[in-house]
């Protein structure tokens, strides 16, 4: 076996080893990464965190009382109430919506209220004018506490026990 073919053989196996070093380095980098992605704990838990860590919900005092009614407090439908079961509610102007809003400032499929654990979350469905929870525009699903106003166009709804 001359020198060149020996080098070639070493390099051939060296390349296979290098490929696996690459694979295992990626796995090692991922292993350290597994905990990140759960967010730093600032503010309310997300829907996902609430599902994974039910203890987070029990920490919140308002969660003790279950929401049973959805009440429209302002807007064209003021006074309407809707009983909550445990199915998601679609809010918007579209005919398929669970609560059909006759509100020119609401989108067809405006927002969605859904139960998760013991509480209800609201999520904006890419509406034109946005959904406001207690004065803050939603950028992701957030839990709705009892009595906190949710504004959709000119309509304001809230959850009651």
């Amino acid at each position: 076996m001359n020198d060149l073919s020996l080098t070639v053989t070493i390099l051939r196996f060296g390349f296979l080893i290098l490929m696996w070093v690459m694979v295992f380095s990626v796995v090692a980098a991922m292993r350290r990464d597994l905990v990140i992605g759960r967010k730093a704990k600032v503010g309310a838990p997300t829907a996902r965190q609430a599902r994974k860590h039910p203890e987070l919900i029990q920490d919140a005092p308002a969660a003790k009382a279950q929401a049973r009614l959805l009440v429209v407090t302002e807007g064209p439908l003021a006074g309407t109430t809707l009983e909550l079961s445990n199915t998601p509610i679609l809010l918007g102007r579209a005919q398929e919506a669970t609560l059909v809003l006759e509100d020119d400032y609401a989108s067809g499929r405006h927002a969605r209220l859904f139960p998760q654990g013991t509480r209800w979350f609201i999520e904006d469905l890419g509406s034109t004018n946005g959904t406001y929870l207690g004065g803050t525009q939603l950028t992701r699903a957030l839990p709705v506490e009892l009595g906190v106003p949710v504004r959709i166009g000119k309509t304001v709804i809230e959850l009651r026990a």
Partner: protein, 454 residues
């Protein structure tokens, strides 16, 4: 609780280290090809090494500026795969006298430039949701393009999926993969409650209402259309599989999968009975070693299998085997070429890289907070997984061979371009997933606006 307090880190330096490793894989592969085939280390080799390094670093620095929290392992994985592909194409060029290598370098550069553009200008993936229905129209146009006389490149290897634009040929179906994923994600994220709630319950299965089946029927007809008019079984499986996975993820109803599989079985059986090219594919898969089929139909697969057998466990080494005897060795059959020269050990490393890439796509989907982003990331990552399954399964004769491209490895510009754009989108979504959130209602928060008084 302590786990929740973990501070999110950008981890761009980890990415840089892994990137160096990925680049050494790509460059060493190219070096071995030159060494084993008696080529001198001329300027070409150094230029190519420099281009690959430059392109990867360009993406890396774009991420540093524009998507600081993006997943650190996606880019190195993709660079390693792309580098191995370039080396193998170069190696096949040397023995066949083809010039696919320079073309592949050109397309790699274009594709990386496109990925950088996407990362730079698309600040938030949720913007794409506004284009839900435009994406549908664009997908339809892209899918119909190869059938339009004038720009159609006609029948290439039995499939009408190419268009001709001046000197370039392009497969618009590759881009349609992305626009369809955007449409499905946008449509399902706003309609899933309807699909979820309505319908009768039979035993453990909740059946959807007939009118909610509409989109599924449309997706099915579209895939059957691709199969019938373009003779492209691979894309047909890819589009329908993409839809099925996304609707399953959106609704978590097993009944959709069952209905989808039933529709697929019906479509597949009908196609087998009616279209000669489909029945030929299936027969040449089942009876691959029958002399009647080896003569032409199954020659490619059988030759690939012999090649991989020749490679064995550790492979013959770059340039030492004869993968060039397999037709289309640098595109459809590149997995067979890699299997021959890198062996089972090398091929499994490649498959592991794909698995890691797909897993990171799913991870981005789990971490991101909006339904649209979740569905889009799942759909795009799954499209890689399905492509790998269909093509690697075809080459190893697990399923009939179909003409899907092996992502990042195979020679083919349109597929490289589309896959790099998909990587850019997954990186963008993973950045949104891993970015630390400031949830405290502070007035300095930019996203906070006053309630408009109407």
């Amino acid at each position: 609780m302590s786990q929740l307090a973990t501070v999110a880190k950008p981890r761009r330096n980890t990415e840089l280290l892994l990137l160096l490793l990925a680049l050494s894989v790509g460059i060493m592969a190219n070096a071995l090809v030159n060494l084993n085939l008696g080529r001198t280390f001329d300027n070409d080799f150094y230029t190519q090494a420099a281009i690959l390094t430059g392109l990867s670093l360009a993406v890396h620095f774009t991420l540093r500026f524009r998507a600081k929290y993006a997943d650190p392992v996606i880019l190195p994985t993709v660079v390693a795969l792309n580098g191995i592909g370039l080396a193998m194409i170069h190696r096949l060029d040397i023995t066949t006298g083809d010039s696919a290598g320079p073309r592949q370098w050109l397309w790699t550069s274009l594709a990386v430039a496109a990925a950088i553009t996407v990362i730079w200008f698309l600040k938030d993936h949720r913007i794409l949701r506004r284009y839900t229905y435009i994406s549908l129209v664009v997908s339809v146009v892209l899918l119909l393009m190869p059938l339009v006389p004038g720009i159609s490149a006609g029948d290439v290897n039995g499939a009408m999926v190419w268009i001709k634009l001046g000197p370039f040929t392009f497969q618009p179906g590759e881009i349609a993969k992305i626009t369809l994923a955007i449409f499905f994600a946008g449509y399902l994220s706003s309609n899933r409650d309807l699909i979820l709630l309505a319908g009768k319950k039979i035993g453990p299965l909740q059946l959807p209402r007939a009118r909610d089946l509409g989109p599924m029927i449309v997706a099915w007809l579209a895939s059957v259309g691709v199969l019938v008019f373009q003779h492209d079984l691979g894309s047909s499986i890819l589009f329908f599989g993409l839809f099925m996975v996304m609707i399953y993820v959106a609704t978590s109803r097993i009944s959709w999968i069952l209905i989808g599989l039933a529709l697929m079985a019906v479509g597949g059986f009908a196609a087998y009975q009616i279209f000669p090219h489909v029945s030929r594919r299936i027969d040449s898969w089942i009876y691959a070693f029958n002399p009647e089929y080896i003569a032409d139909a199954s020659f490619q697969v059988v030759q690939g299998l012999f090649g991989m057998a020749n490679g064995g466990l550790l492979g013959t080494g770059f340039g030492q085997g004869s993968p060039e005897t397999v037709p289309l060795a640098n595109s459809d059959m590149i997995i067979a070429a890699l299997g021959e020269e890198l062996g089972l050990v090398g091929l499994f490393a490649v498959i592991c890289l794909y698995a890691l890439l797909v897993a990171r796509g799913f991870r981005a989907a789990l971490g991101t907070r909006d339904a649209f982003g979740k569905l889009l990331a799942v759909g795009l990552a799954f499209s890689f997984a399905l492509q790998c399954f269909v093509i690697i399964g075809g080459v190893t004769r697990l399923i009939p061979l179909t003409g899907l491209t092996t992502p990042f490895l195979a020679a083919g510009g349109s597929s490289l371009l589309a896959n790099w754009i998909i990587v850019a989108l997954i990186l963008r979504i993973s950045d949104a997933a891993r970015r630390p959130l400031d949830l405290s209602p502070s007035p300095s928060n930019e996203q906070q606006k006053e309630v408009p008084t109407l």
